[in-house]
Amino acid sequence: MKKSCTTEYTECTEEKHFKKLRVLRVLRGEMLFAFLLAALSFSAAARDELHLYNWNNYISDATIARFEQQCKCRVVQDYYSDNEEMLAKLAAGATGYDLIVPGGDAVEALIRSKQLRPLDKSKLPNLKNINPIYLNQRFDPGNRYSVPYAYTVTLIGYNVEKIRALGLPTDTWAVIFEPKYLAKVKGRVTVLDSQRELMAAALKYLGYSANDTDAAHWQQAKRLILRAKPYWAAFNASSYIKELTIGNIWLVHGYSNDMFQAAQDAEHAHRPFSIGYSTPKEGAVLALDSMVLHKSGPRPDLALQFINFMLDGKNSSELTNLIGSGNPNLAALPFIDPKIAANRAVFPDAEGFKKLEMFRALDRQQRRVLSRIWTEIKVR
């Protein structure tokens, strides 16, 4: 009897010890993080450093190196993988970033929550290089706070050989939403794990604006999505590049930059197939990322210098040549790989451009309604 009690006792302490270890591990991470933040804010004030908060893989190393040489300063980079992550981090109180590269609706959110510094355009002579169609957008009329950096288009990517063999169209959202097409690629399709992107694709297919907030239209889009869902393999916003490259997935709803990477990877790996991508004729979402100055950044002078540097045609072209991003900079075109520049999915003609839409920010009530629809889509 006594013995079993002691067993019990050691059992208990063992368990507590175990729990504490885990708590400690978590805590250690937290402390390290706090320490890093402290270190960051310290050094930022002291040295000639530009703190750049950018998307993953969204600038060429060569460009950074050249800027560092020119400004005799250091560029310290921090990364995010979506606008929400970046906004959430800023909302939670992250500071010390001189320059951020958010998408349009995130720019709008940052402006309205008064987190940005107005730009001193006298320091930005290269602003003239930007194609005027990308200026003066609704998220920042008159570009008081933001300067276009690069853009992506949300479109359809596919395994060229498979899709051709199955005789499926690649110029319409129908191929993602219509069961008659989907039946041939069941379990080989992924769509973006993003409330707004998927909703926009459905709305576009139904002939509405990507920014439509009419509840009835949202319900209609939901029904369309639910009807197509059984044929999809997953909602995926990251590993679909790899799945497409190795041939597990044949058809995806995704970003043009990612398709460029998948196509390149498939080519380099000498796959027996190639990856293609095209913008559906119903229209699509264009995400324009812009450079903005965050109020918490200690070095707006370096940030302005950097913006002007990035507005230079050659510097700007390096990003496009690296990741296949769309480029709003007219002076960059001569430096861009002709194969990329000729791709109408990334550099649309005037007719194609009219069909592209940028997201507007939703208000909190709309976000809640959309979130519930999204949850229903995921559960049902």
Partner: protein
């Protein structure tokens, strides 16, 4: 007498303060946040003039869908815990029967996966379960013999359960092992002398004595699985959303902190209930023993 009480206070104070600062206080903040309005661009709306509201709770109960997700998460957690027990029990028992030298090696092997990053281990399962790989091909060839259509393993509820069980298995093995290791072989001899066969010896002696280990292991598996979001995100298909994903979505995609707070509050309540239940059970056992 007084000094004894002082010592007791001194010993219990640090964990008590720890719990207060890192559990009670944050939970109270979460409670407060759940009664606020969401900020227009994330965060919370200013307290003045918007104030407090019950709107978020009304929203939660306005649709059964959120309760459905909670039930589903509880089911996934229960299933993963059950599978962990099934897999861990024979393993732990086997390890205790090995010579001392081998035992330590085996325990080292059980904890070895912790040496690599959690996400990398999950990504490894993506490769293992991928349709082009040996495991998937073998399963589908086998199914083919019985005339069953090939199945997709990756991006499925199956993959989610595999991931959950794989990641949390050591948390079941370790407490079970520490429990089983302390069983005196003499008890089994005594049972045998009294005429118990192998099955009776296990069911009447080993099993009841190992229950505290099972409770401890179950709590260590059930609770983290309940809040897990990374595994369904990476391995799940189009329908595999759990409470953890829903909460993450509120803080990132939807930027609706009050609703996220409400959801995590319900999750915390469930976790506390489970912990209390586990404690009650093991206490009861203690009295009976």
């Amino acid at each position: 007498m007084r000094s004894e009480r002082l010592t007791r206070w001194l010993v219990t104070a640090p964990p008590l303060i720890f719990m207060l600062v890192f559990f009670v206080l944050p939970t109270l903040i979460v409670v407060a946040a759940s009664f606020r309005y969401p900020g227009e661009y994330g965060g919370l709306a200013p307290l003045v003039p918007e104030g407090y509201t019950l709107e978020t709770y009304r929203f939660f109960f306005s649709d059964v869908i959120y309760i459905e997700i909670f039930l589903k998460s509880l089911w996934v957690a229960a299933l993963s815990t059950g599978l962990c027990i099934l897999l861990a029990y024979p393993l732990a028992l086997l390890i205790t029967r090995l010579p001392k030298r081998w035992r330590d090696l085996m325990i080292l092997l059980v904890v070895l996966p912790f040496a690599s990053n959690f996400l990398i281990r999950i990504y490894a399962w993506m490769i293992i379960l991928g349709p082009q790989n040996g495991f998937s091909l073998a399963v589908n060839t086998l199914l083919g013999f019985f005339g069953i259509e090939p199945v997709r393993l990756l991006f499925s509820p199956f993959a989610v359960i595999v991931g959950m069980v794989y990641v949390h298995l050591p948390f079941m093995v370790l407490p079970l092992y520490t429990n089983l290791e302390r069983h005196d072989p003499a008890w089994l001899d005594a049972a045998q002398d009294l005429g118990a066969n192998a099955w009776q010896r296990f069911w009447k002696v080993t099993w009841p004595l190992s229950l505290p280990g099972i409770y401890a292991g179950s709590a260590l598996v059930f609770i983290p699985v309940l809040g897990m979001f990374a595994i369904p995100d990476i391995l799940g298909g189009t329908g595999d959303i759990l409470v953890g994903n829903l909460i993450k979505e509120q803080f990132l995609g939807t930027r609706d902190w009050p609703f996220g707070a409400t959801l995590s509050l319900f999750l915390t309540l469930i976790v506390l209930a489970v912990a209390a239940l586990a404690m009650r059970f093991s206490r009861k056992r203690l009295r009976h023993a």
